[in-house]
C-alpha cells in the first residue's frame, strides 16, 4: 500500500519532470510539501518537482483557472484526479479555462481516498498514474457517519443547521458568477439564520443542477456537516436517467437544458410531436 503510494508519487514526479524538461509546459500545478507546509504549488523548474506530493486530495481546477486568467499564454501542466478533470471540462464549457493550454497528468485515486470521498468516478479518462478502481455506487456518508440515502434525510432538520457561511458556494469549483444571487438581498433575505430553505439552498443547488461534477467540496466545506452532496447526487441521477447527460465528461456535449426536447437544432415550423409531449410533466 505505502509502497505503491511511493511509486505513484515517483511516477508523477518523473512525468512532471519530463514535461518541464521538454518545455511543453510553462509550469506544473500540483500539491507540494516543503518546510513551509503542504499546499498547492506551481513548479517551474524540473528540480523543484521533488517537492511534489499527491496527498492530501485537493481540487486544483479552480487554481488552474486563476493561473490561466493571470497568464493566458502559459501552458499549464496539472496533476489531475477525476474530479479535477471533470471540473476543468465544465469550466472549459463555460469558457473559463482553455484546455488547449492545459496538459493533464491523469491520476487515478487510491482506494482509500476514493472511499473517503465516496467518489463515483475516482479516475480521469486518461490515466497516467495509478490503477482505475470502480467508484462507490451508493450515497456518500455525511462526514464519517454512516451513509443515509438522500430520500430518507430529514432535510428540514439538516438545513436548519445551516450557518449561512457561504462555504458551500466558495468551495465550489463551478461557482463562477461575478455576482452570486444567493448573496443578494433581492433573492435571499439578509440577516436570517438559518436562511430560508427555498431561497438559499434551492437557488444554489438549482444553478449547479446541470454542472455539478460531484467533487464533494461543498459538503466538505460545510461546518454544519449538511449532506449537500446527497441533493446533487439525486439531481445527477435524474439528469442521467431522464436526459442521458453527465456533467464533466465531454467538452463538446452541451447541457440538455440548452436544447430542444428532441436534441439538436429546432427546425422552425415543423411537424408537432404532441402525441407524446402534450400536457405531460415527465420528459
Amino acid at each position: 500500500m505505502f509502497h505503491s503510494m511511493e511509486s505513484a508519487e515517483e511516477r508523477t514526479r518523473s512525468l512532471g519532470r519530463e514535461l518541464l524538461e521538454s518545455g511543453r509546459i510553462t509550469g506544473l500545478l500540483s500539491i507540494i510539501a516543503d518546510r513551509e507546509g503542504t499546499r498547492p504549488g506551481f513548479l517551474r523548474k524540473p528540480d523543484e518537482v521533488d517537492s511534489l506530493v499527491l496527498e492530501p486530495r485537493y481540487l486544483l481546477a479552480p487554481v488552474c483557472r486563476t493561473l490561466q486568467a493571470m497568464d493566458p499564454e502559459a501552458t499549464l501542466g496539472i496533476v489531475a484526479r477525476g474530479c479535477d478533470e471533470r471540473a476543468l471540462v465544465e469550466l472549459a464549457k463555460a469558457g473559463q479555462v482553455n484546455l488547449g493550454r492545459i496538459v493533464l497528468i491523469g491520476l487515478a485515486c487510491e482506494e482509500e481516498i476514493a472511499r473517503q470521498c465516496g467518489c463515483g468516478r475516482p479516475y480521469p479518462r486518461k490515466i497516467d498514474v495509478g490503477q482505475k478502481i470502480d467508484g462507490s455506487k451508493g450515497n456518500v456518508s455525511s462526514g464519517e457517519g454512516s451513509g443515509r440515502p438522500g430520500q430518507q434525510l430529514d432535510w428540514n432538520a439538516e438545513l436548519a443547521r445551516c450557518l449561512k457561511c457561504y462555504g458551500c458556494r466558495n468551495a465550489c469549483p463551478l461557482c463562477i458568477c461575478p455576482e452570486c444571487k444567493i448573496g443578494l438581498a433581492m433573492w435571499v433575505p439578509t440577516g436570517v439564520v438559518p436562511p430560508d430553505v427555498f431561497s438559499f439552498h434551492l437557488i444554489r443547488a438549482f444553478h449547479l443542477a446541470d454542472k455539478c461534477i460531484d467533487c464533494g467540496n461543498c459538503q466538505d466545506a460545510c461546518p454544519a456537516g449538511i449532506p449537500l452532496r446527497e441533493l446533487h447526487r439525486h439531481l445527477l441521477k435524474m439528469l442521467e436517467e431522464r436526459l442521458g447527460y453527465v456533467p464533466g465528461l465531454e467538452v463538446d456535449r452541451q447541457s440538455p437544458l440548452f436544447t430542444d426536447l428532441k436534441h439538436g437544432p429546432f427546425n422552425g415550423p415543423k411537424i408537432p410531436r404532441w402525441m407524446n409531449t402534450l400536457g405531460e410533466n415527465e420528459l
Binding site: 415550423p269 415543423k270 411537424i271 408537432p272 404532441w274 402525441m275 402534450l278
Partner: protein, 426 residues
C-alpha cells in the same frame, strides 16, 4: 393623396393584402360582409401542418389592421354599385346596421347575458341574436342579427352605455377607388345533392367544417368527440373525401385542401379521445405541400388512423339514431366491404363565396372554370383579372390553403400598388 384601394373580403387574404398595401403607404378600404374580420380561418380550430391554433397567427394581423391609420374597415358592408370613370372606380358601399353603436360598445357582454335571460322570443333554440366578437376580433364591438332578434328591450335596458339602437339606419358611403382586390373567399359547397351519403338524414353525418367546430376545444363539447345524435363518445369515425368534388355530377375540380384537413381533424380527434379509431376514404391523398407528407406519416404513426383508397358508394343510417353503415369498395383489395361507424365526416367541396358572383358582375370580371374568378394571365406576371384594375387573390380564384392565400394576397397587393403608381404618374 392619390387613389386608394378597395379590398373585398376580410378573410386572411384580404387582411394580408390590406396590410401590405397600407405598409406601402396606400390608403385601403377593407370591406367585409360579416360584422367581424377573420373570415373562414377563424372558424377553424387548428391549422395543418404545424398544428398551431388558427387564432394565434391571425390576431397580430387583426390588431395591426385595426390600428393602422391607412386602413378603413367597413364591416357588415356590401358593395351596392360601381361607376367607372376616368380610370377609377366610384364605389357605393352600404353599411348594414348592426344595431349596436361601435363607438359606445365596450364589449362588456351585459347585453348578451340580458338577452339570454330576458329574450321574449319564446322557446328559441340555438344561437342568440347578439353576435359576440370571439375574443378581440376586429372590430371589437358586438352586433345584433336582426333575423333572430325579437327586439325586446331587454338588452337595451342592461347596456350601461346605451349602445344598442334598433333604429340604427343603414349608411351608404361613396369611395373613390383606384384599384380593387377581390378576396371574397369560399363557401363550403352543399352536400344535399349526394343522396348516397344521406347527408341531413342523420345527425352524425356531418360536414368537415361543422365537425371541426363540433370537436373544437372552444366548441360545444370543449374538445370531446361526441356523436351529435345521442352524445355518446365516438369510437369509430370515418372521413369521406371528395364528397361532391372530383365528381362530374357536382364539381369536376379537386377542392385542394380536403385531404390535409381531413388528416388534421383525424389527428386531433385521435388526440382528444384516446379510444377513437378513424378511417379516411381517399381517392388520391394529395399531400404535396411543405411538411404535408410528414403530417400524413404522423397520422399513420398513431396506428389509429387508417387510409383506404375508395369512394364509398353508400352511407346508410341504421335506424333513427343508430350507427352508420358505410358501403365501399377497397380499390386496392378489389372487394366490396361494409364498415359500421359512429360518425361520418364528409369533406365538402370548396366553391366560390356567394358574393363573388355579384362582385364579378359589378366589376365586369370574367369567371373561368367552375365559376371561380378567371385570371387570364394565369398569374404568370400578375394576379390580374380580365379587368386590369381588378385583382383577385385567395380562394375566390380557386381553392387555396392559408399559405397559398396569403402569398397570392401579397402578390395582388403589389400589383395594386403598381396600378395606383401608374395612375399617379398619369
Amino acid at each position: 393623396m392619390t387613389g386608394s384601394a378597395l379590398i373585398i373580403g376580410g378573410g386572411v387574404a384580404g387582411i394580408r393584402a390590406s396590410l401590405d398595401l397600407a405598409g406601402m403607404g396606400i390608403p385601403v378600404h377593407l370591406m367585409e360582409r360579416e360584422p367581424f374580420l377573420g373570415g373562414r380561418l377563424l372558424q377553424l380550430d387548428r391549422l395543418y401542418p404545424t398544428d398551431h391554433c388558427a387564432w394565434c397567427p391571425v390576431w397580430p394581423l387583426l390588431r395591426q389592421v385595426g390600428s393602422h391609420p391607412l386602413i378603413t374597415i367597413h364591416s357588415s358592408s356590401e358593395v351596392h354599385s360601381i361607376q367607372e370613370e376616368a380610370g377609377a372606380y366610384q364605389a357605393t358601399i352600404v353599411h348594414l346596421p348592426t344595431y349596436i353603436r361601435g363607438e359606445r360598445c365596450t364589449g362588456c357582454g351585459e347585453c348578451l347575458w340580458a338577452c339570454a335571460k330576458k329574450s321574449t322570443v319564446a322557446g328559441r333554440e340555438g344561437p342568440l341574436p347578439i353576435l359576440r366578437p370571439n375574443s378581440y376580433v376586429i372590430p371589437k364591438v358586438f352586433a345584433i342579427n336582426r333575423n333572430l332578434c325579437g327586439e325586446c328591450p331587454g338588452c337595451q335596458e342592461e347596456c350601461p352605455f346605451g349602445a344598442i339602437d334598433f333604429k340604427m339606419p343603414q349608411e351608404t358611403r361613396l369611395l373613390k377607388i383606384g384599384a380593387v382586390i377581390l378576396a371574397s373567399g369560399f363557401d363550403p359547397g352543399r352536400l344535399e345533392g349526394l343522396e348516397e351519403y344521406s347527408y341531413g338524414a342523420h345527425p352524425d353525418i356531418i360536414s368537415a367544417m361543422d365537425f371541426e367546430a363540433w370537436i373544437a376545444e372552444s366548441g360545444p363539447n370543449a374538445g370531446q368527440v361526441l356523436r351529435r345524435s345521442d352524445g355518446q363518445k365516438v369510437e369509430r369515425l370515418a372521413f369521406v373525401l371528395c364528397a361532391g368534388s372530383r365528381d362530374r355530377r357536382f364539381h369536376e375540380y379537386c377542392s385542394g385542401v380536403c385531404c390535409m384537413y381531413a388528416v388534421k381533424e383525424a389527428l386531433w380527434a385521435c388526440q382528444r379521445s384516446r379510444d377513437l379509431w378513424a378511417t379516411i376514404f381517399f381517392t388520391d391523398l394529395r399531400a404535396c405541400g411543405k411538411g404535408f407528407q410528414e403530417y400524413v406519416q404522423l397520422a399513420e404513426e398513431t396506428g389509429r388512423i387508417q387510409f383506404i383508397r375508395s369512394r364509398p358508394g353508400r352511407i346508410q343510417p341504421m335506424g333513427e339514431n343508430g350507427a352508420l353503415r358505410v358501403l365501399y369498395e377497397d380499390t386496392t383489395q378489389r372487394n366490396t366491404r361494409e364498415m359500421i361507424v359512429d360518425m361520418v365526416v364528409l369533406a365538402q367541396p370548396i366553391i366560390p363565396a356567394a358574393g363573388s358572383e355579384n362582385f364579378a358582375s359589378l366589376f365586369g370580371v370574367d369567371r373561368g372554370r367552375e365559376r371561380f374568378i378567371l385570371l387570364p394571365d394565369d398569374k404568370f406576371l400578375s394576379p390580374a383579372t380580365s379587368q386590369s384594375r381588378v385583382l383577385a387573390c385567395g380562394c375566390c380564384q380557386g381553392p387555396a390553403d392559408a399559405v397559398q392565400s396569403v402569398i397570392s394576397a401579397s402578390a395582388a397587393a403589389l400589383r395594386a400598388a403598381e396600378i395606383l403608381a401608374q395612375r399617379r404618374a398619369a
